[in-house]
């Protein structure tokens, strides 16, 4: 399975049209901070090269989470009270970066599909409590991916949103700029 480093975001197209550059907004600092957290999964599996361990795709952090979770929804199994203690103590310095609004962040999670050839990526829409997961291996074009994501977030107002993703250099790219492969 090819290794892919992705962070996908859905953004309001109006923001993008105004020359809103996803590559601004303190992304560098943000990226550094994110990379520290990303290591967690990267390194865990990079060290174990010869073992049949399911590859999980690198995790990138959420920005401005509603749930304040960096990983898969529900993991680690910590309730909101415990999270408040952890975050209050540790993450005061890490948080406080303002985020672009109306983004849906997508990150790679360790879904149960990691043993097959599926590539589960987590999608989060700002303002929505529950994240979704989408299996990238089931899609062969940006259009089907976008359609699926729109259906997933059907309860929210998805009009005027666009899909964007962050590559491993930390640059934000609009979905569709590069070919699907």
């Amino acid at each position: 399975m090819e290794e892919m480093e992705l962070q996908l975001k859905l953004a309001l197209s109006s923001n993008l049209d105004e020359g809103f550059d996803l590559n601004d907004h303190n992304e560098e600092q943000e990226y550094d901070r994110l990379m520290k957290k990303k290591r967690c999964f990267d390194e865990t599996f990079e060290e174990i090269k010869n073992v049949q361990v399911p590859r999980t795709l690198p995790l990138l952090d959420h920005i401005d989470l509603c749930e304040e979770e960096d990983g898969v929804v529900g993991w680690p199994p910590i309730n909101s009270w415990r999270k408040k203690i952890c975050h209050h103590y540790h993450h005061n310095s890490r948080r406080g970066c303002t985020t672009p609004t109306n983004y849906v962040t997508v990150k790679n999670g360790c879904g149960g599909g990691s043993r097959s050839n599926s590539m589960y990526v987590k999608v989060k829409m700002e303002g929505v409590g529950i994240a979704r997961k989408v299996d990238l291996s089931r899609h062969h074009s940006y259009q089907t991916l976008i359609d699926t994501l729109m259906a997933m977030f059907a309860n929210e107002k998805v009009q005027g949103y666009k899909l964007a993703y962050q590559d491993k250099e930390g640059d934000w790219l609009l979905a569709g700029d590069m070919p699907w492969g």
């Binding site: 520290k36 957290k37 990303k38 290591r39 967690c40 999964f41 390194e43 865990t44 174990i48 073992v51 361990v53 399911p54 999980t56 749930e67 979770e69 960096d70 990983g71 898969v72 929804v73 529900g74 993991w75 680690p76 199994p77 910590i78 309730n79 909101s80 009270w81 415990r82 203690i85 952890c86 103590y89 540790h90 993450h91 360790c110 879904g111 149960g112 599909g113 990691s114 043993r115 097959s116 409590g129 529950i130 997961k133 259906a151 997933m152 059907a154 309860n155």
Partner: protein, 572 residues
């Protein structure tokens, strides 16, 4: 056959049966015992609010005085149950108001409680005494004000980790001046500041106050006054435990704590300044329960406090205690029965403390009464688990969370199957197990073979195929609750074990590969739309199966679909 035993005698005998299981067994003996038992049952426990309706309960048990109800599934604690799912207590309260005017106790867990419910209960139950809300939500401090104002005989108001909309601290001042019956007050989950003078007066005039758990907003300077007014306290929770450096605070604290000769339980400890911890040492000899899970304090100070408690039975602490701190427990706290170690930085990429499997191994070796473990760490090995299992065959609860999902044995890089297998094989009385790390179908073989007393199992990112789930469902005879997230389990095991599901309270499966549901009384949570609206190959998001005599829910939100038998036929 002449019936020789008078009913009154049987009733008298039944009154000695406090366990629900015993009462249920008694009611099955014969019709007359069923009748006698149902008229004299005073306490009801409902493990799943949707398993039965208020009307059915009231019809069968007309003279109930105490009710305990649980609502949302356990995984709701980790944000896996969407908002608006259900577990509303209002229908229960409004039904009980009509039929149980003398109700004294309501204990709820993971339910949605509104101000309206609280107001209704406070005005309707004249002899109301005990309100315990654990992990509940949906109410504001106005609801608490109703309770304070109207429940003249209130003994316990216990709010445990509830999500309360905190409008103000004024609710506490609603306890009338002639209200003196308070025995237990736990306001630790509230945010806003209450009037300290109202709190002091309340504490002064309630001579039977045994439990007082303050919230973070009560500063350490206020503690001496409160403790002096309640030297009879048995359970005490501080607020924020730090202050500007003022020496008389420290000496006042020492004096106040040494006056409390009956303290058995301590908690609170937000924002701890370690310099103030020694003030408590005089109170520590009798301490059996210490909850330091909010205390963001490093190991030496933590350990100094803990080793003052030779009678400690229950310790909750953050992983700042580290392996070094845990090593002290066998020497100083030999009677330890329950240990919970929580992560201080679960989302950090690197470990921030030196806490490994070794800490747990040393405690398991040196504390012979250890029976209940909850342990978050970042590495584990089969060898350590096998050692723990051999050291402590008396374990009844073992919950291990290795923070990286699917982390293998860090020494051998193998799955942790044999380690957990040893746990279930040696710990024959194990009631509850939560697993983590890299696990294949093999571990479920061990569980199905050995875990005969296991009642609750929690699994995440484990297994290879339906065989894993099948082994659990077919082998674990005592299983009541099964919760699964992100495992490659699908339909086959469920369909093959449909009958087993009826012997269980509930089964939760999220992010698995289930497409078809085995029977009715199955809830599918899917915010994408009705399961039929997607291709057959598409797995459901979340599945919650529970047995019920109440029929399909009437209060389902739009993302919950109950599968009826027709649906099963259509999909197959």
């Amino acid at each position: 056959m002449a019936y020789s035993f008078p009913e009154e005698v049987l009733e008298y005998v039944f009154a000695f049966l406090s366990s629900h299981k015993d009462r249920n067994a008694v009611s099955l003996v014969c019709k007359s015992w069923y009748e006698i038992e149902r008229w004299c049952r005073r306490r009801i426990f409902i493990g799943n609010c949707y398993a039965v309706s208020p009307q059915i309960v009231i019809r069968r048990f007309p003279e109930v005085r105490a009710v305990k109800i649980k609502g949302k599934p356990h995984f709701a604690d980790f944000n896996l149950v969407p908002e608006g799912w259900g577990a509303y207590v209002y229908p229960w309260i409004s039904a009980m108001v009509r039929s149980y005017p003398w109700l004294e106790e309501i204990k709820l867990k993971r339910m949605v409680v509104t101000d309206e419910s609280l107001e209704l209960l406070s005005k309707s139950f004249k002899n109301f005494k005990v309100l315990v809300l654990s992990s509940c939500e949906g109410f504001t401090t106005d609801g608490l004000a109703s309770i304070a104002a109207n429940c003249r005989n209130l003994r316990e108001l216990d709010l445990r980790e509830c999500e309360v909309e905190d409008l103000s601290g004024h609710w506490l001042s609603h306890f009338p001046d002639n209200f003196t019956s308070l025995v237990s007050l736990n306001m630790s989950c509230l945010g806003s500041e209450v009037s300290f003078s109202a709190l002091e007066r309340l504490v002064s005039r309630c001579p039977n106050l045994r439990t007082l758990r303050l919230n973070r907003a009560v500063p350490v300077e206020k503690l001496p006054n409160l403790l002096r007014r309640a030297p009879q306290l048995v359970e005490f929770g501080t607020g924020a435990y730090s202050a500007e450096n003022q020496t008389d605070i420290f000496s006042n604290l020492v004096e106040a704590f040494s006056g409390c000769k009956h303290l058995k339980s301590l908690s609170g400890f937000w924002d701890v300044d370690p310099a103030y911890l020694p003030a408590m040492y005089y109170a520590c000899t009798g301490i059996t329960s210490l909850n330091l899970s909010n205390a963001t304090v490093q190991s030496p100070d933590l350990v100094e406090l803990i080793i003052q408690c030779p009678n400690l039975k229950c310790l909750w602490v953050l992983d700042y205690i580290e392996d070094a701190g845990l090593k002290a427990l066998p020497s100083y706290c030999k009677d330890l029965q329950e240990l919970r170690v929580f992560p201080s930085d679960p989302y950090g990429a690197e470990p921030n403390v030196s806490l490994t499997e070794q800490g747990l191994v040393t405690v398991s070796a040196g504390c012979p009464k250890l029976q209940s473990v909850l342990y978050f760490c970042r590495q584990m090995s089969n060898a350590a688990l096998i050692t723990i299992a051999r050291n402590r065959p008396n374990l009844i609860r073992f919950r291990l969370c290795i923070i990286d999902p699917q982390a293998p044995d860090y020494l051998t890089l193998e799955p942790l199957d044999t380690g957990f297998g040893a746990i279930v094989e040696h710990c024959k009385e194990l009631l509850r197990l939560s697993m983590s790390g890299l696990l294949t179908d093999r571990v479920f073989e061990y569980i199905g073979t050995h875990a005969k007393k296991l009642e609750m199992l929690s699994i995440a990112f484990a297994g290879d195929s339906d065989l894993g789930l099948h082994n659990v469902l077919s082998g674990c005879e005592s299983l009541r609750k099964l919760e699964i997230m992100d495992c490659p389990f699908g339909d086959k095991a469920l369909l093959a074990n449909a009958a087993k599901l009826e012997t269980m309270r509930s089964l939760w499966m999220s992010s698995c590969s289930v497409r078809r549901c085995p029977s009715s009384n199955v809830e599918v949570m899917d915010e994408r739309g009705h399961p039929d609206s997607r291709p057959e190959t598409c797995p459901v998001e979340k599945l919650y199966i529970y047995r019920t005599v109440a029929g399909p829910r009437v209060d389902k939100p739009n993302f919950v679909w109950t599968m009826d038998e027709d649906a099963v036929l259509r999909l197959s």
